[in-house]
């Protein structure tokens, strides 16, 4: 049971970094990767491939699913020299983005994880949080404050 929990934690952590990489702005990810300066040797399991996934919604927001439309996704898979497998599944048509995401996914499973998190994942999350907070703050400023007019009665 304890092993199961540990696996869950590992899986959760991997889900989190893969989700972050999938949504990351390509320019920012590639710039951070370039600054990190790693060039690990790897073999392709699957070269970057552009495709689509069907995005689903729910009727009335909460009911049965329906197909809303597709979005572009690029995926690839690779192995590092030590045999670690990395998967890249990213939004958009960026083959370099998918490759870097797969390399980071692989390296995050190695002792390099800490350095990589500090150099790439944390700054990336910071950039993305700042962008969404900036939007939320603008939205908050457009929230209506209702007030009741004083009626002209004595």
């Amino acid at each position: 049971m304890a092993i199961q929990t540990e696996n869950d934690v590992v899986t959760q952590a991997r889900r989190d970094w893969m989700s972050l990489l999938a949504k990351a702005p390509e320019d920012r990810l590639l710039a951070l990767w370039a600054d990190y300066g790693a060039a690990p040797a790897f073999d392709w399991l699957r070269r970057p491939e552009i495709g689509a996934v069907m995005v689903r919604g729910r009727m009335g927001g909460t009911g049965a699913p329906f197909n809303l439309g597709e979005m572009t996704v690029t995926r690839c898979a690779l192995t590092l020299a030590d045999g670690t497998v990395g998967h890249g599944y990213v939004q958009g048509r960026g083959k370099p983005k998918a490759e870097v995401a797969a390399l980071i996914d692989a390296l995050m499973q190695t002792p390099e994880a800490g350095a990589l998190r500090a150099a790439i994942l944390d700054p990336l999350a910071g950039t993305m949080d700042a962008a969404s907070t900036a939007r939320a703050a603008r939205a908050a400023a457009t929230k209506v404050d209702f007030f009741t007019l004083v009626r002209g009665e004595d």
């Binding site: 495709g51 919604g57 699913p65 597709e70």
Partner: protein, 372 residues
Amino acid sequence: MYVAVKGGERAIENAHAWLAEERRGDTAVAELSIAQIREQLALAVNRVMAEGSLYDPDLAALAIKQARGDLIEAIFLIRAYRTTLPRFGATRPVATGEMACDRRISATFKDAPGGQVLGPTFDYTHRLLDFKLAAEGEVAKAPTAAPRNEPTPHITAFLRGEDIIQREPDSEATPGDLTRTPMSYPAGRDIRLQSLARGDEGFLLGLAYSTQRGYARNHAFVGELRIGTVAVEMEIPELGFTIEIGEVELTECETVNQFAGSKTEPPQFTRGYGLVFGQTERKAIAMALVDRALRWRELGEDDLGAAAQDEEFVLSHSDNIQATGFLEHIKLPHYVDFQSELELVRKLRREAEANVAKQNAGNEDAGKEASQ
């Protein structure tokens, strides 16, 4: 006899070359970049993504540039590109209740939790041309306030608590996909919503407006309109777990409509639903109205013979790429078809003329006889 003719290759090549030149326009004027279209004509980009049925802002911007701003032509380009992509799978249904809202308004509840958030709307602008935009200038920073951290709940969730609005059935059934299976009627609501989500904004606007004017009776309130981004989750087959594979901007409209009730069920509000890629609120509201009108059968309403109630009429004419394909093909060479029609008309005319001549001759004879 059918005679195939060939020709026009050079004329076509030269037409394409001129098209490219016209697309570029006056070279003394700076060329538009894809990023400029994506950032500054975002609502056109959104429409192309929604009706092209492919979420990719850069691709939609490219299509708009290539199509010289003809949005239906741009949608055509996106649809054509879409068919070349391998399908990696389907996502989990997006959780619109978790949306990071840029805009969220309700026409039914003033004091809805989460409030009335206007977002970057045209609504209260005066619709006067702003000549300041004709000159270059810095844009003032929009004011900010303390951001909301928790998700904004759906308005219908409050009505659901009272059971005063129809519940959406819980289901995880795999929805039908009109891009994979030809349409057949009657279509399920899953197929109708997919079709409406990619349908032509103008056509749906007209149909929705017709329901408001009394063609199909269902007075709608906008229970909620929200625009913002949601994460898109998908299970990765190789890994056996779900990741957020991206995020998309969506517009969601829920309408609250006239009540229905029966002997077994007390009166309840009914609902219509619109969900569209991008900031596309006119389309989302229209979609919700048309969705509601098409639900007449399941809600036990009368068929009033209104266009918006006629599923086959709505779904087979809402796709602007199908429509424009058929409409525009009639300008292409139909020389052989027309030749046969031409000969037929000439023959009919000869026969008619001969008949008239014969009749006139007969009349003259009759006239002579009468005068004698």
